[in-house]
Every structure is written in structure tokens, then in C-alpha cells.
């Protein structure tokens, strides 16, 4: 009896493993093995198509001593500092408006979402055209209000912000949907009670909406941080890291060192430093939102 039970359990296990095998195999090949292999590479000198030789902490020391790394880290932080707050505020604003009973709600919701479903390549190419110095519509429109034309993507002071404006425009619709879902989960009785108590709009927003949206906000902040720290495609199409490294982000740096300079060990190291950085940022964000919640 007992052995019959055991064979049944073994059979059940085998069947379960067969079920998860294809999915787990692709995750293993594409996600798990590369993580460990990347860690291995980061401790090796590994020019492409040669076998890696052990170099200890040399990659880490050299990356942390290079100006290129610190410029890219600075650019990434500046970019995130523009991107994250703008995208959170604007998407929350639109979500709140769309959560009221207004006409054409669904039409507006779809319109705002279109930029997010289209390829970053399409968007970067179109905005590059719109930012064109003498043929672009941006300079033309600014000319109408007497602002002199700018070389948006060729001026080291402007290029990174010009890219940020585009990515904020693109991502708003996505975060708006997340906030809309969050807003719809707030029970309407709370608002009714607040109205009965004579609370102002601002009060209900500050004391009901914002605190109850905290789980959504944590999620939005973390996703926005992860996406802004990895920004790469926009740079590839619009500026190729230039002018004068002013748009070189950590995402760009990894690509440049790995695929243009072909130093795989060094590039892996940059990837892991970025990973660590992101991990700490996410912990900080979780912490900040937790503290805010205690009152």
C-alpha cells in the first residue's frame, strides 16, 4: 500500500516537472544562467571571442575610476530626477480627471495610451524629426511665441532634457492606467462620508485619495525607477550618447563598452553596479513610503 502511494507520488512529481519544463528551461537559458555567467565575466578580462582570464576586482576598480562611468551615472540620475516626478504627477492628474463622470472618458483614455503601445524606435525617430533645427515643428512653434530656435539634440545643455520630455510624453498613459485601477479600488462610501462631513475637495484628496493610493504609488515609483535607469533605445536613435557624452546613460554605457568597445568583462561589471544601484533605490523607495504611512 505504502509503496503504491509512493509510486503515485513520484509519478505525480514527474508529470508536474514535465509541465513546468519548457517554461523553466527558457527562463534558465535566458535569465538564470546569464546572471551567474555575467557575475563570472565581471571578475574576468574578456575581450570578445577570446577566452576570459581571471582579473579579480580589476574591472570594478577601473570602472569606478573612469570619468565616463561617473558622467553616465550623473546623467542617469539627472534624467530620473526629471522623469519620475513629472510622470507621477501628470499621470495622477489625468487619472483623477478621468475617474470623474465626464463625457468621452474612454476616448481620452485610449488617446493617452497610444504613445505607450507604439515602439520606442518609432517615437524616437518622429521626435528626432520634430526636434530638427530648421525643419522641425518644435522650433517652428516656439518661433511663433518668439523663442529663438535651439539645436535640441546637438546642445549638451539641452539634449538630455529633450529626451526626457519625449519619454514623459510617452509613458504618461501607462502610469495613468495604473493610477486609474488604483482609484477605482477606493470604496465610494469614503467619499460620500467626507462630503457629508463637509470636507473640501483638497481635503478629500489629501486625506483619502493619496493615502489609499499608496500601494499603487509604490508600484509606480519602482517601475518608473527601473525603466528610467535602463533608458537606452532613445539615446541610440537620437544622439548616440552625444553631444560630448551629455546623453550617455548607464544603459548606453553598458552597450558602448560591450558592443562598440567589445570589452565584455568591463561591461558586465557596469551592469552589476547598475543592478546594485537599482536594488538600493527600490529599498529606499519602499522605506520612504512605509514611513509616510505611519501616523
Amino acid at each position: 500500500m505504502k509503496s503504491a502511494n509512493l509510486t503515485k507520488r513520484i509519478r505525480n512529481n514527474v508529470i508536474s516537472y514535465l509541465f513546468i519544463l519548457p517554461g523553466m528551461l527558457s527562463i534558465t537559458i535566458f535569465l538564470i544562467v546569464p546572471i551567474f555567467y555575467g557575475l563570472f565575466l565581471s571578475f574576468h578580462s574578456a575581450p570578445l571571442y577570446t577566452s576570459p582570464t581571471f582579473s579579480g576586482l580589476k574591472n570594478y576598480i577601473e570602472v569606478l575610476r573612469s570619468d565616463y562611468f561617473w558622467i553616465s551615472a550623473k546623467n542617469t540620475i539627472i534624467y530620473s530626477a526629471i522623469f519620475i516626478p513629472s510622470v507621477v504627477v501628470s499621470s495622477l492628474l489625468i487619472a483623477i480627471i478621468l475617474n470623474t463622470k465626464i463625457r468621452l472618458r474612454n476616448l481620452f483614455r485610449s488617446l493617452f495610451f497610444i504613445p505607450f503601445i507604439s515602439s520606442v524606435i518609432v517615437i524616437s525617430v518622429v521626435w528626432k524629426w520634430m526636434y530638427h533645427y530648421d525643419l522641425g515643428i518644435v522650433n517652428y512653434l516656439l518661433g511663433l511665441i518668439h523663442i529663438p530656435p535651439q539645436v535640441w539634440l546637438g546642445d549638451p545643455r539641452l539634449a538630455l532634457s529633450a529626451i526626457a520630455v519625449m519619454t514623459i510624453w510617452r509613458s504618461m498613459g501607462f502610469y495613468m492606467i495604473l493610477y486609474l485601477a488604483g482609484l477605482q479600488s477606493i470604496p465610494s462610501q469614503l467619499y460620500e462620508a467626507a462630503t457629508v462631513d463637509g470636507a473640501s475637495h483638497w481635503h478629500t484628496f489629501y486625506h483619502i485619495t493619496l493615502p489609499l493610493l499608496r500601494p499603487t504609488s509604490v508600484f509606480v515609483f519602482i517601475i518608473a525607477t527601473i525603466s528610467s535607469f535602463q533608458m537606452f533605445e532613445e539615446v541610440y536613435i537620437m544622439t548616440f550618447g552625444g553631444p560630448a557624452n551629455s546623453t550617455s546613460t548607464l544603459g548606453w554605457l553598458t552597450y558602448d563598452v560591450g558592443f562598440l568597445q567589445l570589452r565584455m568583462g568591463r561591461a558586465s561589471t557596469i551592469g552589476f553596479i547598475l543592478f546594485l544601484f537599482l536594488f538600493i533605490m527600490s529599498l529606499v523607495e519602499l522605506r520612504v513610503f512605509k514611513i509616510k504611512g505611519e501616523y
Binding site: I20, M24, L31, I102, F108, F113, V126, W129
Partner: protein, 272 residues
Amino acid sequence: MPRLVKIFVYVILCIFGITSIFPFLWMISTSFKDTYVLYRFSLELIPKEPTLMNYVDMLTKTNFLVWGKNSVIVTSFTIFLSLFFNSLAAYAFAKKEFWGRNVLFIIVLATMMIPINVLIIPVFVLFANLNLVDTYLGLIIPGIASGFAIFLLRQYMLTIPNQLIDAAKIDGCSEFGIYYKIVLPLCKPALSALAILIFVWSWNVFLWPLILTTKDSIRTLPVGIAVFQGQYVTRWGLIMAGASFLFFPTLLIFLAFQRYFIRGIALTGLKG
């Protein structure tokens, strides 16, 4: 709402709405303008002398059709295999007991946290050693591996009552039959939401095909356009025609399946 506030709200919505789609209209408009028209700035949204020249050049003088074919192949295989493989795994994680289930599931969840920058270098070196560079298989694997897909489907499958599965077992249904005939049909809403998210991801994905292709004949559309806009720097009409070509399939799918889309994104939010 007071009238004045209402007007103000509509003005804001309209400004945001127009800004959201104007770049696309501008792209389409430019794609129908002749090269010599584009030497000077003009505000015509509807071209005075529309021309199909850019589209003709795109189809005859560039590799667009090949890139388009590659994109269609990679995207359709990715959607099909991802739904199939990940729903199989999700079913086992949701409805079966096996050794190491929780540990394995935590590993699946943890893979969602890995940033792409950590992966690009080792994946490239590894795929190069496995001879997967410049192959369809190499382009498809990154789209199949998805902790998110397994997680989303598993959450949905947890809501399926166990009695249904037990009843099927008593009726002599095979293990695969239960998955295929009972569980999958019940998961249609989650599967369709996921299929559309995978379509958009796979159709638009850029970094993987960029590093995993070296030959022009295996490139996908986004990579093709990226390389092409670096070569034909001044042919803006042609570049915009290419961008429209990449844009329209996603727009059509979005307009047709909006509801699934929004649901899919909202499901994403639930994990937070």
C-alpha cells in the same frame, strides 16, 4: 462640478489628447511628402501634393519586406510558444503539488526583478557560444522566458475551482487533457490579455534583436529602421514611411482589443 471647472477640465484633456496623437499625424503626413517639399519647413498637415514615392522606395530600394517578414515570424512564434509554455508551467504551479514547488516559484518571481542591462552582455556571449546569434530561435527565446507570464496565468488559474479538475480526473481525463480541455478554455480572458501584451512587446522589442543579429537578412523591423535611419539621414519622408509601417500593426491591434489591453495593464498593477 461647477461649469467653469468643467470647461477647464475639458481644455486640459483636449490639450493632452492632441499632444498624444499629433506626433503620429505629423509622421504620417511627412511620409506622404516628396523629398524636395521637405527641404523647407511647411505646416501642411495634409500634403498639397501627396506622393507615394517614399513607400515605393521603401518597398523596392530597402530590405523592409524582409525585416517585416522576420518580425512577423518572430512575433507569432513568440506569442504562441510563450502562451503554451508559460500556461503549462502556470498550471503546475497553481494546481499541482510537487517537490520544490515553492522554491521554484520564488525563483520565477525573482527573475522579474533582473534589469536588462545585467543580461545583455552574458546573454550575447552565451548565445554566441551556442551559435544562436543570427537565428530565429535566438530571437524568440528572450520573448518566451517570462516570470511575469507564469505569475499572471497562475494567479488566474488559482480561481478555477479544484472540484472541476477532480471531476475530470474521475471521468478518466488524462493529465494533459485536464490542462488542455478544462483549464485552458477557462483562462481565455487572461490568455487574451497576455497575448496582446506579448504581441506589443515582441513587435516593438529592440535591444535583443539589435545585439543578436549581425546580418541584414535576419533583422527585425525596429532594428532595420534604426540602422536605416542612420544611413539615409536626410530622407525624412522615407524614414517616416518606415516608422508608419512599424506603427500601424500595433495601432490596429490596440484599437481592436483595447479592452484586453487595459485589463492586462491593470492586472500588472495588481502585483504591486
